[in-house]
Symmetry: C2
């Protein structure tokens, strides 16, 4: 074929610096400008490391192994028990919290509030001041949930007496745990710790937890992946919108609970509590995601992201091939909608282990499933679809279990490759709640946030170092 | 402004006969061909009547009044009682059925099967043969549900002992009724009447009905419009997909049921029955739609459609300004997906009062809310959105209560104007189940069907006659 280039009218596609395109446009010639910036935000060292990792067959093979483990996960809800009886390594005078490790002094207001509340709930102190002194004096060990196969939303504080969901990944046998959801309003996970909060926690310990344990014993364990899959076809993205999933779980548990023979007024109170809490399923979902991702963790050379978590100060990720190292960066502020009377000035930076949902491909990655969530986090239904499409650029594939009707039943984008995040400059999108920055107040809004690019750049650097050894 | 028409290149839009466009295209001139056919399928008399009605200010004013009543409806679920105690005009040895009036001999297989089953259930006969003889001999009065402020899905047979939902339109005080949903498989409404079917009907009469009655007494009445609105944001179109709505109703009723103090094993059995039936809400929804539409009925000169119903042989509509007259045409076959082992050869023509959902703007009109339903009735999620957009052409407005996320929260197309149906040639789209054409078998599939255009043309003719009087 002969190309008669200079005899034709030229159509120019300009990539990168906009000034070149402007010059052509000034000369009245047709030009399309393509937004582009170099990977790793132009960092030459990371850029070179990324270039090597992108063609490293060891990484591809490791990712194949890791993501196939992720996709093979079959989380099953086995039961409920006090944390101290089931969470590995939890001890007396130890509290678990969300996100990467952080010391008391460095903690944000809502996390300090939740720590104070948990100390009061455990009876280790009688007043908030005393609790604060205990924590500040180092008498309480503070460790991340993620170091104990656990996850918790927002402050995510888990104490030994709290009842926790037990989820087992049937394919691999590993277990993961999460506290039970308290509902909205004044709740521990947003840093509130008044008598209403503590009273509810005691009722959850004495009535709700045992009731769920007995219902699961009576009715049998519940497979969670089909339930999540169904909820995605019912308008949930199963992070910030769990109304369908909570209803489906309720339908499964209610008849079994009645069959336990427990006191009818306790049964009714438990049913009313669950039916009044559209986020009840969130913690079950989080433990299920954790159980799926833990099975994909620890594959040498893999760049699969196996956790994203925030402690309200730092945002941390873990990568399958980097062991238990955290790659951190400052936690970003959230772009969201605020409850009446609150504004961005009240907001704490991003907080909670709940981004484990996005790490599996739910939440922000599955927003196409949940057009109605834009009323809660902002944007339009079209934006919701666009986010899911965008996330397909940074995942190793699509979930075989979770599909998105609005994208003609395409699988949810699942399995973040740290290489693709840095290469495309597309940071994972996360749907999340917004906590007040002070202890004791609670939730003030909800919105969207991007995982910090720096976490993924560090992962690339560390993976390159590891593979060069 | 001066128009220099003949100095410009002409761009032609051709409407109607394609041959004109072809001639222009042959001459290499640009032409856009628009599909168009005359209203009333070219029937000159109806076309002239329609032309008059379309500019008749009396019809516009009447429709404004009728549709404002429809939009103002507030259905509330008040209770459950045996049909004989609450349905106006129901008598001993009377059975109500779906669709317009029809005699025993003319009835389709599934409706005859349901009549036989109801006679056995009432104890008016001891064997199917005896029941058949009774019905054929005229010993049982057979009347449409719609003549008794009632509706029923598929065969829709309602007998005096059956428990029925009582829905009240709070705005206008009128009531509507519907039987309770039996679930899928072998059920009376699809024409099955074996011991399993009759045993379930007796259990519904003796346990389920009284349980729901007591739960509603204990927990109080339930507003249905907000529940439908929420279900539309959870992937239901609230006709052929009721999984979210059934779950929401279950969540409301379960705690109240436990608080009734009824026997725990009955309570558990009732909860298991409801939680295992994704269509449980259908009949509540139908009674709610009926209560809303009855309040909009009887406005002289109005062309608002207030009922669409099928008896398996005839498809009938009612129009607000035409009193209790039925405008009928042969019931069409359904274009759908069949259960394994069945095909179109097994199918009965369109059947049931459930098109009351579409008459309000749910079902096929709200398919944009339910992308996942295409797995059940056929087509793609894009088709689902297209149906909702298409129905906007034939409705007097959009529902203020029911919105569609996928259409940026536009209201559901609501309030069919018979004039617009005939004028546009767009027939209402209905999501529906497919019954086997023989008595005693049951459901064989589900799909989509268009209301027959002839019903609407007859309505135009009759309305023109009425207004000319």
């Amino acid at each position: 074929m002969s190309v008669q280039l200079f005899e034709q009218q030229l159509s120019v596609v300009n990539v990168g610096l906009a000034s070149f395109a402007e010059a052509i446009r000034d000369a009245k010639a047709p030009v399309v400008h393509l937004e582009w910036s170099p990977p790793a935000q132009g960092d030459r060292t990371v850029g070179m490391q990324l270039a090597e990792l992108l063609v490293d067959k060891r990484v591809d093979a490791a990712n194949q192994e890791a993501v196939s483990r992720l996709y093979a996960g079959q989380p099953i809800l086995r039961g409920v028990a006090p944390a101290r009886e089931v969470i590995p390594g939890i001890e007396d005078r130890m509290l678990l919290h969300a996100g990467p490790p952080i010391a008391w002094d460095a903690m944000s207001g809502p996390m300090q509030g939740a720590i104070i509340g948990a100390i009061l709930f455990e009876g280790w102190a009688a007043t908030p001041d005393e609790a604060r002194r205990l924590a500040a004096g180092g008498a309480i060990r503070l460790e991340p949930n993620h170091h104990h196969a656990a996850v918790g939303p927002m402050a995510g504080v888990t104490s030994p007496s709290m009842p926790v969901w037990i989820v087992e990944n049937q394919t691999f046998g590993n277990r993961a745990f999460s506290s039970m959801n308290e509902g909205l309003g004044k709740v521990l996970r947003f840093g509130a710790y008044d008598d209403e909060v503590l009273g509810r926690l005691r009722w959850m310990r004495d009535v709700l937890g045992p009731a769920m344990a007995r219902a699961l014993d009576t009715g049998g364990p519940i497979e969670i992946a089909p339930l999540i899959a169904q909820a995605l076809h019912m308008g949930d993205e199963v992070h910030n919108r769990n109304v369908a999933a909570s209803g489906l779980l309720f339908r499964r548990i209610a008849p079994a609970l009645v069959r336990t023979g427990m006191d009818a007024s306790d049964v009714a109170a438990v049913l009313e509590f669950i039916s009044g809490n559209d986020h009840f399923f969130l913690n079950v979902s989080m433990a299920s995601c954790k159980a799926m991702l833990d099975a994909a963790h620890g594959v040498p050379a893999s760049s699969l992201v196996t956790a994203m978590a925030r402690n309200g100060v730092d945002f941390g990720i873990r990568v399958s091939g980097l062991g238990y190292e955290w790659l951190t960066a400052p936690a970003p502020m959230i772009d969201g909608l605020y409850f009446p009377g609150y504004s961005a000035a009240d907001a704490n930076p991003d907080l909670g282990d709940s981004a484990i949902a996005e790490t599996v491909g739910l939440g922000g990655f599955s927003m196409a499933a949940a057009p109605a969530i834009v009323q809660f986090v902002g944007g339009s239904p079209q934006d919701a679809v666009a986010y899911s499409r965008e996330m397909l650029q940074i995942t190793l594939g699509t979930s075989p279990a979770f599909t998105l009707p609005a994208l003609s039943f395409t699988g949810a984008p699942s399995g973040i490759d740290a290489r693709l995040v840095v290469d495309t400059g597309v940071a994972p999108i996360i749907n999340t709640g917004i906590a007040h920055r002070q202890a004791g107040i609670g939730q003030v809004g909800a919105g969207l946030v991007r995982a910090p690019m720096a976490c993924f750049e560090r992962a690339i650097a560390r993976l390159a170092e590891t593979l060069a050894e």
